[in-house]
Structures are given as structure tokens and as C-alpha cells.
């Protein structure tokens, strides 16, 4: 085949071939950015819809329900006994409230909350170190959850079993707020900034 002939043919077909390249590019970008996250995460509903903002108005601060124990450990998600303190009987007609009473409080069964910020078992996180000593606000890591009116859908990673909130809502891993992601790098970033100890055992167990 002569060089001249080849050049001619390629010149003739190249614009069309580029179209295929672009189609390929577009399809894969669409798959990667849009389809993939839908496939990666399964969606789960919390057992009860719940308004943080109503509760926050009623009790005043986060620590009323998410409190520190005397030994410095953090209680995390409230147990049923905390709920019972106010909700021994239904406080209204709300069907979610009825659900709470009938399904959990009356049979004295713990509510199987799905925890957005649950970290793998190898992670040790001290709320006391961050809140009591570091004087961080809850929202630095947990965002505006205190202002929400409804619980959001819990998205569970089908491969790892952890919540989407750890990686962050942005599938690209971009973040604009400190609370958008809860990966190790995000912890390390803040520790780096504040000159905090970076040894493995600080955050691992």
C-alpha cells in the first residue's frame, strides 16, 4: 500500500470515526457518573421518619439525646429508653409516631436505626477528644442534620456494606463542606492542619 493512498483513506474516514470516539466517551461518562452510583448503592428506608428540627426545638441541643456518658464515652444513636422518656404515649396523630409506639415502645424493641456515619470496626473515633477537647461543633462532621425535617434515604454500598455518607454524596469524591465526606483522608486532612498526632493508633483500634 502506498503512503499516499493511506493518507487519503484516513483523511476521508476520520471525521466519522471521531463520532464513534465521542459516543464511546459520552456513554462511559454517563455510565460512570450516573448509572454506576445507582448500581453501587442500595436504598434503604429508616424504620421511622423523624424530624431532627422538631426535636432540636423541643430539647434545645444535640447533647440531650446524643450525650456523653460519665466515663467519657459517647452514646451515639439514642436507645429506645431515651425515646421513652418523652414518648411513653403518643404525642399526636402522626402515623410515624403511632409506628414508634406500636412497633417499638410497646413491645420494648430497640429501633433498628441505620447509622449514616457508622465507620468500619477498625476505626476508633473519640467524640470526647473532638467535642470536649477539640471544641468542634457537631456540624463540622455531621453537617446540618439537626435542621432536617425528614430522615434521608440510607444508601448502602453493596460492596463494602457502609453508608454512602462516608464516601460522600458526590460520587466523584468532591467536597465543599467539612461534613461532606468522612473518609480517612478527611480525618487526616484536619489532623494535619491542626498538627494533631498522625499515628495509626490515634484513630484505629
Amino acid at each position: 500500500m502506498s503512503a499516499q493512498h493511506e493518507k487519503k483513506e484516513s483523511a476521508a474516514s476520520s471525521p466519522i470515526v471521531i463520532v464513534f470516539f465521542i459516543i464511546g466517551l459520552a456513554v462511559s461518562l454517563f455510565v460512570g457518573w450516573s448509572i454506576f452510583p445507582k448500581l453501587l448503592y442500595s436504598q434503604k428506608k429508616q424504620p421511622i421518619d423523624f424530624s431532627h428540627s422538631i426535636h432540636l426545638d423541643a430539647v434545645g441541643d444535640c447533647e440531650s439525646c446524643h450525650f456523653f456518658r460519665e466515663d467519657g464515652s459517647f452514646s451515639g444513636i439514642p436507645e429506645l429508653s431515651n425515646c421513652v422518656e418523652c414518648h411513653e404515649e403518643a404525642q399526636g396523630e402522626d402515623p410515624e409516631e403511632i409506628k414508634l409506639i406500636e412497633n417499638y415502645i410497646e413491645p420494648n424493641k430497640e429501633i433498628p436505626w441505620l447509622v449514616y456515619s457508622r465507620q468500619p470496626d477498625c476505626v476508633f473515633f473519640s467524640h470526647a477528644a473532638h467535642v470536649k477537647m477539640g471544641e468542634l461543633e457537631c456540624k463540622t462532621c455531621h453537617g446540618m442534620i439537626g435542621e432536617s425535617d425528614h430522615v434521608e434515604i440510607y444508601e448502602e454500598n453493596r460492596i463494602t456494606g457502609y453508608s454512602r455518607n462516608i464516601w460522600g454524596k458526590s460520587i466523584g469524591g468532591f467536597k465543599s463542606n467539612t461534613w461532606d465526606r468522612m473518609k480517612m483522608d478527611d480525618c487526616a486532612e484536619c489532623h494535619e492542619e491542626h498538627g494533631t498526632n498522625q499515628a495509626c493508633f490515634v484513630c484505629h483500634k
Partner: protein, 263 residues
Amino acid sequence: MKEEHKEGAHGHKEKYKYGMVIDLDKCTGCGACMVACMTENNVPFRKDESNKLVSTAWMRVFKATNGKSYPDIDVCYFPRPCMHCEGEHGHAPCVSVCPATATDYNYETGIVSQIYTRCFGCRYCMAACPYHARYFNWWDPVWPDKMEKALSPDVSPRMRGVVEKCSFCFHRFQRARDHAYAEGRREIREDEYQTACTQACPADAIIFGDLNNPEHKVYKLKKSPYAFRLLERLGTNPKVYYLSTRSWVRRAGDNYLAGERSK
């Protein structure tokens, strides 16, 4: 003591330097430390643990004899946790060989960590450790009947294929620190952070504390004329000291030539 931030040659802040002094005259070889460690740290057991090469014991009590014959024979037990070697500036033998950075030296506490989820099981560290203090998980743990209920949430159970070792019950340090923080303190008192083996030892043979703190018991004990460390001449700079008034025991702590004088 006032908080003391020593600036080491390596430029790291050295806040605590936790270590142990084990009195071999008091140690009875009873094994309570071994089991206290296992139950504290979620170390499993299998049906047959008689192959000691694959039997995990973060704290293991070794038996040594003076090599003499009846009736001059003498026996001594050596409880062996991880030595948390400092080497030079934190270059513990295991830390320097780990390709995954699954083990590191914490300059704030002097504790050598092991992060199971980071470890990929190459076992270089096991080869590097002169104390056989590291163990490989050849199997996933199996907890018979309801034994899973007895697992502590403070220590993450290990999966097969990773290496594990004594952490000086670092979770107890974390627990103590949380408690101190909740009370608005930064310093941890000597009695607030003690390892499970120290606490359990019925003979009070294991003493644990901050080797840098003159008010801690270990500070004084490590300077005893009877104190020695295991394989000290390798330069591992271990943080576990032993005490024995028997000279053959002190000599057994390292390798000496036949005619060489030992401490």
C-alpha cells in the same frame, strides 16, 4: 509531674513513653496474663492450639532453664508481650520493614501499632521481629456457641490473612484519655492506664507505666541493678524491662559467648 514535651532528635514530640517492668522473681508462670490478654483483646482459640508456631498469644510466657541437671536445675518464666521497640528514633525492626505502613511507631506514646485492615499479610514484620511477638492469622476466628457475646467492642476482631500483636492495650489508653477529656484533663494518671496483663497479674509481677515519668513506678524499677532487657545488644531498644536477682536469668536475656561477662 508537669506535662513534659521532650523534643527528640527526630523532631517528634515525645509525650509519654509507655513501658513495662516484669519482675521475674515474682512471676510464677501461672499464665493469667496470657488469658487476660486473650479475653481483653478478642484473641480466639481453636480446638487444637498445640502447634505453638501458629497459636496466637500476644502475651506468651516462655519457660527457660539454667541447663543444669538434677538437682541443680532451675526454671524461670519469661512473660513476653510486644517489646514496643524504639530502635533508634522509632525505627522498630517491624516498622521499618512493613511495606504497607500497617504498623507504625507512635511518638506520643511510644507504642508500636498494628492496623489489621491495612495489613496484607506479607509477614515481613514477623521475620524482622526478634522476639516472635507477632502472629499471623491463618484462619478466620471461630467463636463457639455464644462466645461471640463475650467480644469486646474496644478491640477490632481480626480476619484471616493479617498479622496481629500486643498493643499495650492501647484501647485502654484511649478509654482513659476519653475519661480525662470528659473531666477536662489532658493528663492521664498512672492508674488510669494499665494493660490487661498488668491488671490481672496475681503476683503483681508486671508493672506498667510511663518510662519518662519519674513519678511512675517503672521509672525507678528500670534503673534497678537487676534490670535487663531481652536481646538488648541487637539495638532494638525495647520498652519491656525484666528484673531478676538470679544471674543466670539475666544472662539468659541475651546471647553471650561462653566466656563473656554479662550484666
